[in-house]
Structure formats: structure tokens, C-alpha cells
Amino acid sequence: MTMSAVHPAPTPPGEDAAAELRDVHIGFRSGRHVTPVVRGVTLRLLPGRVLALVGESGSGKSLTSLALIGLLPPGAEITSGSVVLGGDDTAGFTARQWREARGSRVAMVFQDPMAALNPGFAVGRQIAEPFRRRLGASRRDARERAVALMREVGIADAETRYGDHPHEFSGGMRQRAVIAMALALGPSVLLADEPTTALDVTVQAQILRLLARRQQEAGLATLLVSHDLGVVARMAHEVAVMYAGRIVEQGPLDAVYTRPAHPYTLGLLRAMPDGKEEGGRLTPIAGLPPDPRRPPGGCAFHPRCPFATDVCRTEDPPLAGSGGRSVACHHADEVRAAHSGPDSAAHGAPQSGPHSAAHSTEEDR
């Protein structure tokens, strides 16, 4: 397998990134053997901007986000590359430095709010915990701040709900509480790992609006991890598509959705209902993602790729491009042509496109 070259930073340098991954490799260690799961990811999170990380489960997108908050699961480790928070390389961080960074510099919203909340404590107390423990606030002061925060994220009757336990909250309210917790210490970087996946469809839009509003008000540099292209379209400014541990395509939301250049991105877009064509068929991507212990030679996507040729089986294409638009494919031009071809009219950008939703900030409460 050919090693891919270290690709250039996709966003032009100049603006200071709030958080950055530089050619990060993450692997699961068992004994002396390391199974690579994330293979050279470079990302820059800019203040006030939302970067979406898109891919199937197992593509390494969650691990990538956990690396940014120093919470990789047991067994997983960063084997090379660096994670930079506000200009500081975290490689030399002590446990204490990480602890101090979490919550105040980088915070995270998790997928399943029921599991993410401690079932044994009142929700309000959990929101107040950072004030008590990190800022040393008095019990009363912490409570007041937590109640104010609960109001801000749209939890009605915050004062009376402070003492309720997670099981007494609805799914949407729980996720609001998790968001409140993440925002408590005013972080500059927000990681949102599938923040609406576990929620009712009716609640998803509310939570997305809340996240988008808070993100814009606080100028948060946000990493949105999702497999749902509709969710991504509503929030993100920029999209990075991940496949088998690598970023295969990256660029502004608009450009990636309307002019995909990687066959995997094209497949994802075609597998998504667009609401335009009633009764039409969705086209799933054939096959399964590769087993990270036995990666295919060459481009990891070639066994599932309709464009694959001999070069794809032997050579892993580097992520290359210009003007903030990059793709890792030997046949990017053909993919672009295929997408703009006559038979793709029904598979354009999703209806809830970037133009309308990404900037909608109205809150529904």
C-alpha cells in the first residue's frame, strides 16, 4: 500500500484556528500491534464556523472528535500527528492540563442524551457541577447560574425543573440540558457528535436551531459529526467527508453538495431522499466499509467504487486541491462529470439546502 502524502491544510492559513488536527493518526493497540483507524486527518476549526465531518459509522469520525477533547476510549491512541488547541500542542498536556481545557476551551455534546446524563443526580445539579467544581462557586450561586443557563437553552420552568432527574425529562429537553452543560464554562470550541441522531424527528429541528443560534452568538468553532447529510446541510459552512479513516473530500458545503468530486460523496448524496421525486428509488452504496485490520490495497473505497480502475487498486490517491476544495480520487473529473450528467437531475443538492437553512436562526420557543 502506498502511503499518501501529507496533504496541505484545506482552509487557507492566516486566520487563527481555535482547534486544529495536523495529520493525526489514531489506532487501537492490542499488545504490540496497532490497528490504524484514523489515517492522517488534518482539520482546522475556525471561530464562528461550523465544520461538518460526514461518514458512515466506523469511518473514524467519532474518534477524530474525541481526540480533540482528549477522551479517546481505552485502547485507542494517537500514533502520530498533533492536536492543537488554541495554539497549544496537546501532545505535552498533563492529565491536569487536559482537565482544565475540557469544558472551558473545548466542550462536547453527545449523541444519546439519556446515556450522557448521570441517572443518579438531578439534571440541574449536573449543569451546576462545572460552576461548583471548576469555578468554586457557592451552592446557591452555582444553582442560579445553572437555572439561567437552562432558561437560555429553552428549558421551560427551569427553576422547578432544576431538581428533576434525567428520566423525568423528555429526549429533547435532555439534549438541551447536555448542551447547557457543554456551554457552561464558555468554551471556544464545540464538538457535537451526532447531536440529533437519538432524538425524535420533530425535536431534531429545534435542537439544531438551538445549536446554530448558540454557535453564532458565541462565535464557537464547531465540529459537527454526523452521518445525516440533511442535518449537515442545515448547520455547516464546510464539509469534510471521511471514509475508512481518511478525509476523501473537503470543501464549502455548497460546493461539495452540488459538485461532489469523490465517488463516495456522490454515493452518499444519491442514497439520500431529497423529497423532490415522489416514489423514486434511492441508490444505496453497494458493499460494506473495509475492515480496518485488513484494508484493501490502493484507494480504500475501490472495492465499492463504480469508477475504479487498475490505478485505484494499487495507489492510494492523495488529498489534493486548491481554493479550500480538495478531493482524494484518481477519477475526480469523471465523478464531477457524472454528477452533472443528464441522469443525475434528481440527485442534486438536498432540498433543505445550505442557502436557506444554514443561516436560519429563529428559535421556536
Binding site: 477533547i69 477522551l71 492529565a95 482537565r99 482544565e100 481545557a101 475540557r102 469544558g103 472551558s104 466542550a107 462536547m108 453527545f110 444519546d112 446515556a115 450522557a116 446524563l117 448521570n118 441517572p119 443518579g120 443526580f121 457541577e129 462545572p130 467544581r133 471548576r134 432527574h165 428520566h167 423525568e168 447536555v178 452543560m181 457543554a182 457552561a184 464554562l185
Partner: protein
């Protein structure tokens, strides 16, 4: 909560009644005649008959049972023929000593076992974890009379640190309670370790860490809160266990508690005392279970009394 308590109390009364009945039957089925024991082997048939009549032993069993239940309802377990005076008052005189022993044993088990289990959970598979694992097995296999004797030999005879019998001052309670507690320290540590390891893998622990909560607070606040339920449950059972186990340990250390009283009473066919002691232990066990139930409801916000 009120209805829940009422129902549990009703069940408790039922269990207590069953226990009294069982003890009544067992005590009378065991071979040996109290009249012969009281009067000695040389007593005449007339003397035996008159003693039996005094105690009501000549009546049919069902009649004895009914009379007996009537008395028990008034708190009267009959008189001890050996000690004189009421059997129940003799039992209650000795009970605080046993309670002291069992309570201290419980405190020792919790104070040693809980932090030990948490330490193991922090580094599973390491040396301490393996030691505690092995220790809990060894502890379970040790008979308490042997452990008691070894501790006496070591700390009372060799080192002269602690008294071996009850007469030696207030610190005399230490050796017998350690004897009771020691086999269960590793056992509780294992339970805490396994519970904590399971909880540590859960999402809320990651959330707590993501907030910047320190490892100490993660373990001793977030995780501890969620393993409190099983720990309280086994501590309740353990307390009952200690009161029952005290029978043997009290004999080894000549501790003037319920256990040694009961052993004496059994050897001497002092039916009334045996029964009073067993009923006391049973009621204690039931009360502990009730306390555990109430604590569990109080600890688990999801266990509302309606569906408990």
C-alpha cells in the same frame, strides 16, 4: 411511600409469624426432654410428670402451640428455667453486645472494602486487583473460628496489642469484629470493583470528564452514586449475616452477646431462651431488609413506591 411501608410491614409480620412457628416445631422435635435435664437422671416418674405439667409439656402439640402464640403476642416467651426470669428480657440484655460487634464489623468491611474496590477499578488487571481477587477467595474459604483463634494467637498472645476476651476493656471488641469482617472485605471490594468498572464504561462518565471533572470526583461522586444501590443492598444482608455469624465468633472470644447465650441455651434445652433469641435475630433480619428496601427507594429516583 406510606402504602409501600405498610405493605412491607405487613409482609414482615407474616414472616415473623412463620419464624415463630418454625422455631416452635423444631425446638420440640429435637430429641431431649427438658424435665429430665432440670431434675437430673434420678428423678421419679411423678416428679417428671409434675414438671412437665408446670411447663405445659403434657398437653397435645396443637394446644401448646395455641397457648404459646397467645403468649408470644403479648411479648411473653416464657421463663428461662436456667437463668430464671423472662427469656425475652435475658435475650434483650445480651442483644446490644452482639449489635455492637456486628455494627463495627460492618463499618470495617465498608471502610476497607469500598476504597479497595475503587482502587482496583481504577487499574483493573494490575497487581492490587489480582491480590484483592485472590484475597477475596481465601477470605471466603476461611472458617471464622480458625481465623479468630489465629488473630488471638497473633495479636493477644504474641504481640499483646489487644485483649482476647470481653473483660479486657472497650478495645476488646476489635478482634472479634475484625474476625467477622475480614472474610467479607475482599468480597465487598470485588463487588464494588465490578460495579464501578461497569459504570466507568458508561456515557455519563465521559460526559463528566468532558466537563473537566477530576478523576476523583468522577469515581467517588458520579460512579459511586450509581453503585450505591447494590452496595446498600449487600450491606443490609451482610449486617444480618454478621448477627448470625456472631454465634461462632462470640464463643471463640467469650463475647457476652446473643450468640453465646443461644449456644448455652441449646446445650441446656432452655427452649424459651432459644426461641426468644432466634425470634430476635429473625425480627432483626426482617427489620434490616425493610430498612434496605426503604433506602433503595430513597436512593433510586426511578423506583417509585407505586411499582416497588
Amino acid at each position: 411511600m406510606g402504602r409501600f411501608l405498610l405493605r412491607r410491614a405487613g409482609q414482615a409480620v407474616l414472616v415473623a409469624w412463620g419464624a415463630v412457628t418454625l422455631v416452635f416445631v423444631v425446638v420440640r422435635v429435637v430429641p431431649g426432654d427438658p424435665a429430665t435435664l432440670i431434675l437430673g437422671p434420678d428423678a421419679s416418674a411423678d416428679q417428671l410428670a409434675s414438671v412437665r405439667a408446670d411447663f405445659g409439656l403434657d398437653k397435645p402439640l396443637w394446644q401448646q402451640y395455641l397457648t404459646h402464640m397467645g403468649e408470644v403476642l403479648h411479648g411473653d416467651f416464657g421463663d428461662s428455667w436456667r437463668l430464671g426470669g423472662g427469656a425475652m428480657s435475658a435475650t434483650l440484655d445480651r442483644f446490644p453486645a452482639t449489635l455492637e460487634l456486628a455494627a463495627l464489623a460492618l463499618v470495617i468491611t465498608l471502610a476497607a472494602g469500598f476504597p479497595l474496590g475503587m482502587l482496583c477499578a481504577r487499574r483493573p488487571g494490575r497487581i492490587l486487583d489480582a491480590l484483592v481477587s485472590a484475597g477475596s477467595l481465601v477470605g471466603q474459604a476461611l472458617p471464622s473460628f480458625w481465623l479468630g483463634i489465629v488473630l488471638i494467637l497473633l495479636f493477644a498472645r504474641q504481640l499483646h496489642w489487644l485483649p482476647s476476651t470481653a473483660g479486657g476493656g472497650p478495645e476488646a471488641v476489635i478482634l472479634p469484629s475484625v474476625t467477622l469482617a475480614l472474610p467479607f472485605v475482599g468480597w465487598l471490594a470485588r463487588l464494588v470493583r465490578n460495579g464501578a468498572l461497569e459504570e466507568i464504561g458508561k456515557d455519563y462518565v465521559r460526559t463528566a470528564r468532558a466537563k473537566g471533572t477530576g478523576e476523583g470526583a468522577v469515581l467517588y461522586v458520579h460512579v459511586a452514586r450509581n453503585i450505591a444501590l447494590p452496595v446498600v443492598t449487600v450491606l443490609g444482608l451482610l449486617m444480618g449475616n454478621f448477627i448470625a455469624n456472631a454465634v461462632i465468633v462470640e464463643v471463640v472470644f467469650s463475647w457476652p452477646g446473643l450468640g453465646s447465650l443461644m449456644v448455652d441455651a441449646i446445650t441446656n434445652r432452655d427452649y424459651a431462651v432459644v426461641e426468644a433469641a432466634i425470634v430476635t435475630i429473625t425480627v432483626c433480619y426482617i427489620a434490616l431488609n425493610l430498612v434496605v428496601d426503604v433506602l433503595c427507594v430513597a436512593l433510586d429516583p426511578r423506583l417509585t413506591p407505586q411499582n416497588a
